[in-house]
């Protein structure tokens, strides 16, 4: 099924665990270090460098961009490392997450509480995902290098619903 980002409550309610989805629109990359910083800012009641309300994050840190390309290899990283930071981000207003591997119960609970969604992206498929990204712009935490936040325009970006808004979990 094709889905246009940003995700709305209506779209999210239609997406069920196991559905194969092709995303088109804006994603933000963020992995370990960016998550720690975003979490700290929220805890201190400060503004985030970018508005992530209603947005979807992609747990990813790209390889360097070869000449003439938009982005380097850029597949998903393992999601559980973001678990300690995720419930607060969802409570703040984040809607979607893209990564690989199972999540903590607290994350699943926060997904249900906030009508969010967690997508599985094909692990290790960095070359394939690079072809789905049409625009790539650095938007925050430049000092983190590949761990910075990039704003990505994607087209037909293949994912599978791993935890839907009812808490149904593909990993059992």
């Amino acid at each position: 099924m094709k889905v246009t980002l940003p995700l709305t409550d209506e779209i999210i309610s239609k997406l069920k665990t196991g559905d194969e989805v092709f995303l088109t629109g804006t994603l933000y990359s963020a992995r370990d270090q960016a998550h720690q910083r975003l979490f700290k800012l929220l805890e201190e009641g400060k503004d985030l460098p970018i508005d992530l309300k209603g947005e979807t994050v992609f747990y990813m840190g790209p390889a360097p961009t070869p000449d003439g390309k938009i982005i380097g290899s850029c597949g998903p990283t393992t999601a559980y490392r973001m678990d300690p930071f995720t419930p607060l981000l969802l409570d703040y207003g984040l809607k979607g997450m893209i990564g690989k591997g199972a999540r903590a119960q607290e994350v699943s609970d926060a997904i249900v509480r906030n009508r969010g969604i967690y997508f599985y992206a094909y692990g290790g498929c960095g070359a394939l995902y690079a072809e789905k990204i049409k625009k790539n712009e650095l938007v925050a935490f430049e000092d983190l290098g590949p761990e910075a936040i990039y704003k990505l325009e994607v087209e037909d970006f293949p994912v599978v619903v791993a935890i839907d808004s009812t808490g149904e979990n593909i990993y059992g």
């Binding site: 360097p64 290899s73 591997g101 070359a127 394939l128 290098g145 293949p158 599978v160």
Partner: protein, 286 residues
Amino acid sequence: MKNIIDKRDIYTALKAGIKETGVRLPEDVKKALKNAIEVETGPAEKVLRHISLNLETADRENMPMCQDTGMIVAFVEMGNDVEIKDAFIDDVINDAIKDSYEEAFFRKSVVADPLNGRKNTGNNLPAVIHHELTKGPDLKISLMLKGFGSENCSRLAMLKPTAGREEVINTIAEIVTSAGGSPCPPSILGIGIGGTMDYAAKLSKKALLRELDDINPDPYYAELERDIYKRVNELGIGGGGLGGAITTLGVKVEKFATHIAGLPVAVSVNCWADRKTIVEFKGDIK
């Protein structure tokens, strides 16, 4: 007779090997993935088809198959009759790593200090290099690009000496179960049994460097490898952890003598992107 090797030959061969394996999988792994696609149905088949498409894309675009181009783990087996002209072996290896990562647009993923600052070294150095002195004129350098999604799932168990074969298999199955979809299955398992805690861990990495269709020369361990393979694939984790019949593409066991009081078992988990290269310089035995 001394085998005198020019450092440029080592550098060139290693660099070519690293750049190639970051983009294109070794034949044994490609074959195992192809066999897995034929077995799987359902969600895992979809995962494997995307992996196959990804490998085609990486090949065509000459870009790394996975953004995590790993930390390098190298084994140097160096004969006492080997001489590398005007160079120290580790310097040659490090130069080859640094230049290949830069030239091939691989991600530099190494931080200088694990705790204090975690600043990226910017050149993917240092590598983890194990040295083994051997007799004779041969030099063999085997290395892997070790991704950390899978490395984080590697574990060590110090079992009781009376634990026995079944408990070893159960322990490995538990480790793979708790890893679930995180290490990008179908994975490859390198298992080190015996020695001390550190040596078992080292053997588990060495096991990962064996070809997937290689059969253990020791019949007892060849059978153990088959039994672990069977048991792990019965877990149903499958490609990407979405459920399926192929959770592992290969199980390799290396063993060593151990103490009467212990049975160390180390499991190094590798993702399907099992990137490795071996460079050999054989000398004249006469």
